[in-house]
């Protein structure tokens, strides 16, 4: 990911604490050439928000494929933390730029943009073997983007410095996903399993008829009900 390489060139500078997040969704005029170092050192280590972000970001810094112990690994993809943010949920696809967005739709689009940037950073950490410095910067960026205390303009600035025109990239990814969607309808397949594989799959087998006859279940005469009320 090019953005990680870009991060390596940033001069180290610790910004001061920001003001509470403004809710306006106005877009910044463009990438700011004097962007500050996104790898923010947390100045409030005791704050619950910071520790929460720390615990969420931490597994991404581990080497290897160790799954986070804090999150049940019910998913098939390894090492992917959920980017679901309790306060920011997206329920619609990307809205066309031409149509004026309601306040709610703007909030949803913002949530998706933040989620996309975090997702890209996480995928980069997983796929591209970043240097320790790059890893630290990416994790710091993820923490900033997820923080409820970072003001929105600062998040926008960070997103632009990392990804440039991230909206265009999201749109391109969406179009690519649609193309893959159409192609996948024709490439899916079902096939019978051959005899050798069937033999490997079977580990214990008791034919039905031998054992079924001896039914001993206690069969109630009536349907059981708790009848709580």
């Amino acid at each position: 990911m090019a953005a990680l390489g870009h991060l390596a060139g940033e001069a180290a500078a610790a910004p001061g604490p920001g003001t509470p997040c403004a809710s306006r969704g106005a877009r910044l005029p463009g990438p700011v050439s004097s962007a500050r170092n996104p790898s923010t050192v947390c100045l409030c280590p005791e704050q619950p928000t910071c520790s929460n972000a720390d615990s969420r970001a931490h597994p991404l810094g581990d080497e290897g494929g160790t799954a986070s112990k804090k999150q049940k690994n019910k998913k098939k993809t390894r090492n992917r933390a959920s980017v679901a943010n309790g306060g920011e949920k997206a329920s619609e696809k990307l809205a066309p730029e031409e149509v004026p967005l309601s306040a709610e739709a703007q909030a949803q689009q913002l949530a998706q943009e933040l989620a996309w940037c975090v997702e890209q950073l996480e995928l980069g950490l997983k796929r591209q073997k970043p240097t320790p410095k790059q890893k630290e910067q990416a994790i710091g960026a993820i923490r900033t983007l997820r923080s409820k205390r970072t003001p929105l303009p600062r998040k926008r600035q960070l997103m632009h410095s990392l990804f440039g025109d991230y909206r265009a990239q999201m749109e391109a990814e969406w179009r690519e996903a649609l193309r893959a969607l159409r192609a996948a309808a024709y490439s899916a397949q079902v096939q019978p399993v051959d005899g050798a594989t069937r033999k490997k799959s079977q580990r214990v087998c008791r034919p039905r008829s031998i054992w079924r006859a001896k039914a001993t279940l206690d069969m109630p005469d009536e349907e059981f009900r708790f009848n709580f009320f």
């Binding site: 993809t77 679901a84 329920s91 893959a180 580990r203 001896k214 039914a215 001993t216 709580f228």
Partner: protein, 446 residues
């Protein structure tokens, strides 16, 4: 029957090899090989199979793996056993990128069994017929998909009168309801599918969405008795009740049912009472609720330590007062609801050696159930089986004597098994999803 026999044969990969030729001598009695139990296969030792265990066995691939799916009840009739079979599945993907996920409708048809067709005639004639037969017996898959933002944690299908819908739990934290009628139409007709892909696919939207959960979740169940009534449970321990409204929408009670202290992993409505449901949780408990009480007082019964750790899945028998649970401890437990207050299961099975990922009672056969685990095993069980000492029955295979007599079948062949379901209209047919895709099979055991 899987039996372990010692043979002098080199196997570099350590994988069991099929016996086709070579040394016929054997050392010691044959033993049943079970993964995770007993000694590992020694060099030269291999698994030997004897008879055909599968009536039908197919695999399907659709792209990104699916974590969850459901079987769509169709209009082709109940109690279908005549091959070839047709079935409909609704599934959700779990792709790397949120924008790459899909809700899918699959129609699989022309699923033939494992028995080769009987052949007649001369050799020359026979060969020609075999080629034709092979083409005729080829299974088919039609697939229609709609884009979905975020990985899909769980899918459950219900019919609202004549309208099929799917409840979909998104990893982004909302639960959506999708109408399925159009998807079912297009998997029936190739022409309709082409038009759908061109014009409609990208525009499909849920008919309802609820974003009130505080995070993502996995627990979701439609009421089997009250049309359109839905329950959803999240990883933040909350459960919400959805009540259908006259306009074809839902009212979701913002007040969650309170009781669990950690993630709600699964929940299920009672098959016999409109207002009662069961839930299980990472807090190790199983709870029984009644929605007629206030949400803060609706938890009627609790078994606080049902498993040694997370309770991942439950299944409520439609025919007997039994609840089946599977946990992170690998155990399967049977709870008699008439004695639920006792806090003790009536049976515990420890066949699985890793977290149980899915359990389901057979929809028709009393006492029969299936389970899948992270140990890559699917097991089939029958509680009605009991050895009769008077009859002097002897196990056909001595190796099976050490296994619970209720264990009918152990299936392996897929990795990262996530969910399984019996087909409600095709007796004994089991469908599962794993990292590599779907498996559809029926064994001689059920």
């Amino acid at each position: 029957m899987a039996a372990r026999k010692g043979r002098r044969r080199t196997c570099e990969t350590g994988e069991p090899m099929e016996a086709e030729s070579g040394d016929t001598s054997s050392e010691g009695p044959a033993q049943v090989y079970l993964p995770g139990r007993g000694p590992p296969l020694r060099e030269g030792e291999e698994l030997v199979m004897d008879e055909e265990a599968y009536v039908l066995y197919h695999r399907a691939q659709t792209g990104a793996p699916c974590l969850s799916f459901d079987i769509v009840r169709d209009h082709l009739g109940d109690n279908r056993t005549e091959l070839p079979l047709t079935l409909y599945l609704c599934a959700g993907t779990q792709a790397e990128s949120a924008q790459s996920n899909r809700l899918m409708m699959l129609r699989m048809h022309n699923l033939h069994g494992t028995k080769p067709p009987p052949s007649e005639g001369s050799d020359e004639e026979e060969e020609e017929e075999d080629e034709e037969d092979e083409e005729e017996r080829k299974p088919q898959l039609e697939l229609a998909m709609v884009p979905h933002y975020g990985g899909i944690n769980r899918v459950r299908v219900s019919w609202l009168g004549e309208e099929p819908v799917a409840g979909v739990w998104s990893e982004k934290g909302q639960v959506e309801v999708f109408a399925l009628r159009r998807l079912l139409q297009v998997v029936e007709e190739p022409q309709a599918l082409a038009a759908f892909l061109r014009d409609e696919q990208a525009q499909m939207k849920p008919i309802f969405s609820f974003a009130g959960h505080m995070g993502e979740g996995f627990a979701l169940d439609w009421s089997p008795r009250v049309t359109g009534r839905l329950l959803t449970g999240d990883c933040q321990k909350n459960i919400h009740l959805w009540t259908p409204t006259d306009g074809g929408s839902w009212h979701v009670d913002q007040r969650p049912f309170v009781g669990h202290t950690r993630s709600v992993e699964d929940l299920q409505w009672s098959p016999t009472e409109n207002t009662v449901f069961a839930s299980c949780s990472a807090d190790a408990s199983i709870r029984i609720w009644d929605i007629r009480a206030a949400p803060s007082k609706a938890c009627m019964l609790t078994t606080a330590t049902a498993h040694d750790g997370d309770v991942n899945v439950i299944s409520w028998s439609r025919r007997e007062p039994f609840l089946l649970s599977g946990g992170d401890d690998g155990a399967l437990k049977i709870w008699d609801l008439r004695q639920f207050k006792s806090g003790s299961p009536v049976a515990t099975f420890k066949q699985h050696v890793a977290p149980v990922t899915s359990v389901e009672w057979h929809p028709q056969d009393s006492g029969v159930f299936a389970a899948s685990g992270a140990d890559h095993q699917i097991t089939q069980w029958d509680l009605a089986v009991e050895r009769d000492p008077e009859a002097g029955d002897v196990e056909a295979d001595p190796g099976l004597a050490d296994l619970p007599q209720q264990l009918l079948f152990v299936h392996q062949g897929e990795t990262e098994l996530k969910e399984l379901h019996w087909h409600p209209q095709c007796p004994g047919l089991l469908v599962s999803t794993a990292l590599s895709g779907f498996t559809i099979f029926r064994t001689i055991s059920v």
